[in-house]
Amino acid sequence: MQKILVSTTVNGETCEFACEPDTSLLDALRTELRLTGSKEGCGSGDCGACTISLDGEMVCSCLVLAAEAQGRTIGTVEGIAEGSALHPLQTRFLEHAALQCGFCTPGFLVAAKSLLEKNPDPTETEIRYWLAGNLCRCTGYDKIIRAVQHAAADLRQERTGA
């Protein structure tokens, strides 16, 4: 099969990769770019472990073709921290024990970041519904919701402080 050359921006850096026409963006990120932070839990858009941002919108990268990334802007879990400085969501996830196995964590972080960019002060219910497409089998969600609430407060404070 003839490969397609794709030029795209991932976590602020331009990069190129070659993919087959039916390769998913998740597979390209993981295999071609070795960004294995995005996980395949189902391959059918049901678990959210592969959640990335594509031109600022939250998507399941297993449901996007790699060739569709041409000229677009992608954000993955690897791009959430600024250098070695963790994002408040990452810090709060650790402090609140919001992960056990950690497999779903990248997807939750990308999804929660997307929520807080759109809604800086979400209610518990809004957080729960926004994250309803991200499955976690370990935590029962309690500590994840609390971590997102605290990170939201941190970010609001950062904004007003600045």
Partner: protein, 751 residues
């Protein structure tokens, strides 16, 4: 949280530091099973049976083998013939022949999804194409996926040689009932005859899956000298080593298994499916091979928990004192025996003092993937049945369900199911705490109900090895062989830091590969913080002894004149004074290290109580969970946040088991809901916050009093939710999952 007054004061134990693997896991750096790349690696794929039960007449792989890019093809014919032998893996286990056949079918397939052939190719897409070129000639056989149907006299028989073990009168009739197991005390008929009130019921539950988010995957490199490297996530790297060696007749020391980060297991990763296949593919191709499951493979071909049928009768006198109980149940083991019959029997009545009882369990094979352990394997659906009947008894007596349980609750000194008296156990403390908890008196509205249930799991000890190494600068490395499934590296480091008297951040914990640490049983049976923790404490104590001996020699005093406190040696000899830190001591004569291996036979039991409030929509039968309070005797919480996490996670898995989850088979015996869209595990919007109450009744045989906490929290939720639904609707629920249609059906039947 309970009142902590009066407990020993610890510096590190009981605090909530960040786990050592934390940053890797929030930045995407953690390497899980499918994230590991090896130079020259090619991609494997497995062809799976579309039939629930069929004889394989022939397999033609010639076209697949001829496809450019295909480097190896494997079928059952490539596996060595084995002699039947029981393999004990601690939690789970079984016959090695069954384990081999479960990895790759030989003359028959036993379930939809059973592996029949495998290929390895230079790309995943070529491997997938090659699978389509394999022709399997099947003779489709009658199948049985339903538990009750599998026990019928005229049921299709899976294994022609199977006879029921444990019958009073042995039978030579081929059967699907692999075993009958009886556990009894006293005279149950007399016990029930003494009762003033007897409650009875018949219950059932569908098979459910552990639902870990990470599908099984491994990468294997076979070298021409026979040495094998395996990189995989599982609950036991040593388990992978043992079973792979036995399935393939390889020397154990030739296999080195490196544990990668594990994306959930819950018991489901205590067995293997892929590794022996990948070894053969790597051997044939001469290339490292990655083999990974899809989500549908995981549902179809990896171990669910058994479906069950259970009849319960419990009687009590007019004061609510239980006089006798009878429990008869069956569990669907899937393709091969082992549905957790024995632990289910042990747990079913364990929370209560019952003078006369009889428990009979049956293990039944069906055309479903072979079951594997799932958090308290075997026990939760049987506990659901028993706790439903305890609730029914309270209703018949007009007694508060907590009071009824309190009157019968076991306490220290009462005989446990094994006959050995219970050690310190906090069931009464939990029930008292539940009674005064604000949740218990929160007002309820129309269509709302409150349920409570208890649940017991004995926990496991098992063999563990730990090594503790000091470094030149006085920092510490703790190494174990126990895969970290939910933060155990943090608790290991905390226990070592507590013993040696250094800050948590000065102690780093890692999990070693199988060639770098002594044997450790798998992470299961809620045993790691207990048993591996004990090994860590013993190894750290040895290191402290070494530090004290060195200080004594520096000071020229007897070892008895050195005491260790606050992370330093202090000289207690009359004419001398001084202190030496770990760093100073390691700087004089080199780093000190020690190893310890333990095999504790006496784990503290797990016991939990949960209160659940629900609202049932009378028109649709939909259940909304309003409030949950989970109480548990945790012995001692080393890292309270991670203990709470185990409790909350167990509760929510149990809520899924209670309300949504269950295998659905079509008329051909194929799994109809092999994906997260149709097999619906709880999502964030389904749930409230899960309140936790940790009761600390320390366990004497662990240095800090730890009782394993991972499994007990999944024992009460189904009973608690069912009792809440029954309270809301006025109708007893008998089937799991309590999906909306089931609830409407049961309510309609009762009216």
């Amino acid at each position: 949280m309970n009142d902590m007054s009066g407990k020993p004061q610890y510096r590190v134990v009981g605090t909530r530091p960040v786990r050592p693997d934390g940053i890797d896991k929030v930045t995407g750096k953690a390497v899980f099973s499918a994230d590991h790349f090896v130079a020259g690696m090619i991609y494997g794929a497995i062809l799976r049976s579309p039939h629930a039960h069929a004889r394989i007449r022939s397999i033609d792989t010639s076209k697949a083998a001829a496809l450019p890019g295909v480097k190896a093809v494997v079928t059952g014919a490539d596996f060595p013939a084995l002699k039947s032998m029981e393999v004990d893996l601690g939690e789970g286990g079984g016959d090695i022949v069954d384990m081999s056949v479960n990895c790759m079918a030989r003359d028959k397939v036993f379930y939809d999804g059973h592996a029949v052939a495998a290929v390895a190719a230079t790309s995943a897409s070529i491997a997938a194409e090659a699978l389509e070129l394999i022709t399997v000639d099947y003779e489709v056989l009658p199948h049985v996926t339903d538990l009750a149907a599998a026990m019928a006299d005229d049921a299709p028989v899976l294994h022609a040689r199977m006879r029921t073990k444990g019958l009073d009168t042995p039978s030579d009739k081929p059967t699907n009932v692999s075993m009958r197991f009886v556990m009894e005390k006293g005279d149950v008929a007399a016990g029930l005859a003494r009762a003033k009130v007897v409650a009875r019921g018949s219950f059932s539950s569908a098979p459910v899956h552990q639902g870990y988010l990470e599908p099984q995957a491994c990468t294997v490199a076979y070298n021409s000298d026979g040495q094998v490297q395996i990189w995989a996530s599982s609950q036991g790297a040593f388990m992978i080593r043992t079973v792979t060696a036995q399935v393939l007749n390889l020397p154990i020391a030739d296999i080195r298994v490196t544990p990668l980060e594990i994306g959930g297991g819950f018991g489901g990763k205590t067995v293997i499916y892929l590794e022996p296949v990948a070894v053969l593919l790597s051997k044939k191709s001469g290339r490292p091979v990655r083999l990974a499951m899809s989500r549908s493979d995981v549902f179809r071909a990896t171990g669910p928990a058994p479906g069950t049928i259970c009849d319960v009768a419990i009687g009590c006198d007019e004061n609510g004192i239980i006089t006798g109980a009878e429990v008869t149940f069956s569990g669907s083991a899937g393709a091969f025996p082992g549905s957790g019959t024995h632990p289910a029997a042990v747990c079913s009545l364990a929370p209560y003092k019952i003078p006369d009882y009889r428990i009979v369990g049956h293990d039944v094979v069906t055309n479903m993937a072979c079951t594997a352990a799932y958090r308290s394997p075997g026990a939760p659906p049987i506990i659901f049945a028993v706790e439903s009947i305890v609730d029914e008894l309270a209703g018949k007596l007009g007694m508060d369900p907590i009071d009824l349980r309190l009157r019968n609750a076991i306490q220290e000194g009462d005989p446990s199911p094994s006959g050995v008296p219970f050690g310190p156990i906090g069931l009464k403390e939990m029930l008292e705490a539940a009674k005064v908890h604000p949740h218990w008196s929160e007002p309820l509205e129309a269509n709302q109900g409150r349920g409570i249930a208890a649940g017991y799991w004995p926990n496991f000890g098992g063999q563990s090895t730990a090594s503790v190494s000091l470094t030149d600068d006085g920092t510490v490395i703790v190494t174990t062989g126990s895969p970290d499934i939910g933060g155990s590296r943090a608790s290991m480091a905390m226990m070592a830091a507590e013993v040696i008297g250094l800050p948590y951040d000065s102690v780093r914990a890692t999990v070693a590969d199988t060639s770098s640490i002594g044997y450790s049983m798998l992470t299961g049976g809620s045993r790691t913080t207990f048993a591996t923790g004990k090994a860590v404490v013993e190894a750290t104590e040895k290191v402290v002894d070494g530090l004290k001996a060195r200080a004594a020699s520096i000071w020229g005093v007897d070892a008895g004149a050195v005491e260790w406190a606050g992370g330093e040696a202090r000289c207690t000899a009359q004419d001398k004074e001084g202190t030496l830190s770990v760093r100073e001591l390691c700087g004089k004569g080199g780093p000190i290290s020690a190893e310890a291996t333990v095999n504790p036979p006496d784990p503290g039991p797990g016991i939990a109580v949960q209160i659940v409030d629900v609202e049932v929509d009378p028109d649709t039968g939909t259940v909304t969970v309003l409030r949950v309070t989970a109480l548990q005797d945790v012995g001692r919480a080393i890292h309270p946040s991670y203990v709470e996490g185990q409790m909350q996670g167990g509760v929510v898995q149990g809520i899924g088991w209670a309300l949504n989850e269950g295998y659905v088979f079509n008329a051909k015996g194929q799994l109809d809901n092999a994906g997260f869209l149709d097999y619906r595990i709880p999502v964030a919007s389904d749930l409230p916050m899960i309140s936790t109450v940790m009761i600390e009744v320390p366990w004497p045989s662990h240095p800090f009093g730890v009782k394993g906490v991972g499994e007990a929290p999944i024992c009460p939720p189904m009973g608690a939710v069912a009792n809440a639904v029954s309270a809301a609707t006025g109708v007893r629920m008998h089937h799991l999952p309590m999906s909306p249609d089931r609830i409407l059906t049961e309510v309609a039947a009762a009216q």
